[in-house]
Structure formats: structure tokens, C-alpha cells
């Protein structure tokens, strides 16, 4: 069970799972044995809006760190999501094709995107933010959003 760092900015509460690492755009990566599960952070999903459609690279595709691994269409925007890890997609969340709202409902759980078998997880890890660093970055972004109105 994940534990969370949590902050409330204006009327919005954002959680950051402490058992994940994050890239700058808010994609989380969680090591599970020799594989890495990825998904959207709570802040990224709330900021993006309700997800209408999600398309994830299919099993067998190879992705490099920073390459697009998924694309989502929300009620506000279309977003390209970049992979926080280099490797091969070995699993895709079946909910993405028929119930992508799982991203909004449970971003660190049922709303995961894919599982990747990394080539060099140690190298990828060194480029990702730890939970506290991402929490600080996310909080700053959220506060700036509120100021912008």
C-alpha cells in the first residue's frame, strides 16, 4: 500500500506516492522486481482533466527515456506522455481502452498505464525525481496555477 505526501492548494488536494520516482512532467515509475510500472501523478491527472481516451504503446514496443509511451485526450487537452524509462513494453493496462477514467479515479493504482522491462534502470533512476523533490516541484507549479487564476 502506497503512502503519500499531500498538499492542498486552493481547493485542490494533491498526493504524491512515496514509493515512486517521477519525471519532470509527472509520470511516475515504480520498480517491481525487474520491471517498472508507470502512470500519471495525481497532480498531472487533475491538471489535465477528465480522461476521455488513452492510447498506450502496445506490448513489444521499445521506448527510450523521454519518448512518447502514451497519449491521452481529456476534456481539456491532448497530451503526449513520455516514458520515464528505457526498455520494452511488456504489459498495458487493459482499462486504458475501455475505462480510461481509472487514471482520474486511482492514478497510483488501477489507473496505471504500462509495465516496462528496463534496459538500464539504474541509469533511468538517476534522471528521475525522488518523491520529495517531485512534491516540491509539483506544489510550486500548483501554486503558480492558482495565482494565474
Amino acid at each position: 500500500m502506497s503512502e503519500f505526501l499531500e498538499t492542498t492548494v486552493d481547493k485542490f488536494t494533491f498526493k504524491v506516492a512515496t514509493d515512486c520516482l517521477y519525471n519532470a512532467e509527472g509520470i511516475w515509475a515504480k520498480a517491481e522486481g525487474n520491471r517498472v510500472r508507470i502512470g500519471l501523478s495525481d497532480f498531472l491527472q487533475q491538471h489535465s482533466g477528465d480522461v476521455a481516451f488513452a492510447e498506450v504503446k502496445s506490448i513489444g514496443n521499445e521506448v527510450a527515456y523521454g519518448d512518447e509511451i502514451a497519449a491521452i485526450e481529456t476534456i481539456k487537452v491532448n497530451i503526449s506522455l513520455t516514458s520515464p524509462v528505457t526498455g520494452k513494453v511488456v504489459e498495458v493496462n487493459p482499462a486504458m481502452s475501455n475505462a480510461p477514467e481509472a487514471i482520474n479515479q486511482d492514478p497510483y493504482g488501477a489507473g496505471w498505464l504500462a509495465v516496462v522491462e528496463p534496459i538500464d534502470w539504474a541509469a533511468d533512476k538517476s534522471r528521475l525525481l525522488d518523491p520529495q523533490a517531485y512534491f516540491t516541484k509539483m506544489k510550486r507549479e500548483a501554486e503558480q496555477e492558482v495565482k494565474k487564476g
Partner: protein, 144 residues
């Protein structure tokens, strides 16, 4: 207090989200339905009138089955009908309908693009089926 007279119809309450594409789709669908598809069987009630506590609007939702069309997950239309003592016969979220009609991507706010208008039409046609069912049940109930 005397209630204003009203006929027995299915009440349609769309989202009042101004400045949001999905809110505009919900209202466009409500107009399609109440003005073109089922004008005899439906009555449009503005969400803002419920919020303001308008007596006629509150009576309409209290005495008739309502179909709500919400533009986002806040579901203001559904919540407001329930708070006004109404019975929501069907809650519809525009996003759920869009997921079934991916080809109709809505854009625009004051004026919807072609995709938005088509999505609204598709939504209205789906709601019309529910209206027919409710009207049929109502007639059956009265004849029983």
C-alpha cells in the same frame, strides 16, 4: 404556497457550465431534444433557476421524472435536481457519451464545431429513447 400549473413531462436539466465545451454540448443536446426531437414530452429546466430556488422550476423537478446532462464530474445538474426534491430518472455525462462517439470531437464554447453539434445530436437521440420509455411507463401507470 400554491404551485404554478405545469403539464406532466420529462424534465431535462443540462449543465450550466458557461465557457466549457462539454457544458455547451449538454445544452445544445437539451435544445435538440426539447425543441426538435421530443417537444411534446419534455420540458427544459435551467439549472440556474433551480439554484435560485425558482418555484416553477422546483415544482417541475419535484413532480416529474428528470434526465440530467452533466458536463463534468461535479455533476451539478444531478445534484441540484436531487437537492430540489426531484427524482433523477437518468444521469448522463457528456464525456461518457463522447467515449462512444470518438469521431465527434467537440470543440468551441460559444459556438460548437461540427463535431460538437454532431455529438449533441447523438446525445439527444439517446436521451429521446429514455424519454419514450419514461413516457410509456407513465402512460402505463395512469392506465393501470
Amino acid at each position: 404556497m400554491t404551485r404554478p400549473p405545469h403539464s406532466s413531462k420529462v424534465v431535462i436539466v443540462p449543465c450550466s457550465g458557461i465557457g466549457k465545451t462539454y457544458g455547451t454540448v449538454s445544452r445544445e443536446a437539451a435544445y435538440d431534444l426539447t425543441e426538435d426531437l421530443r417537444p411534446e414530452d419534455t420540458q427544459l429546466v435551467a439549472l440556474s433557476m433551480l439554484v435560485l430556488g425558482d418555484e416553477s422550476a422546483r415544482c417541475a423537478v419535484a413532480d416529474n421524472p428528470a434526465i440530467t446532462i452533466d458536463g463534468c464530474k461535479l455533476a451539478c445538474a444531478s445534484k441540484m435536481v436531487k437537492e430540489s426534491g426531484g427524482r433523477v430518472a437518468q444521469e448522463i455525462a457528456v464525456l461518457d457519451v463522447y467515449r462512444r462517439y470518438k469521431q465527434f470531437k467537440p470543440q468551441g464554447i460559444a459556438e460548437l464545431n461540427e463535431g460538437g453539434l454532431q455529438l449533441a445530436q447523438a446525445l439527444a437521440e439517446e436521451v429521446a429513447v429514455t424519454v419514450d420509455t419514461l413516457v410509456s411507463e407513465n402512460k402505463g401507470g395512469r392506465n393501470a
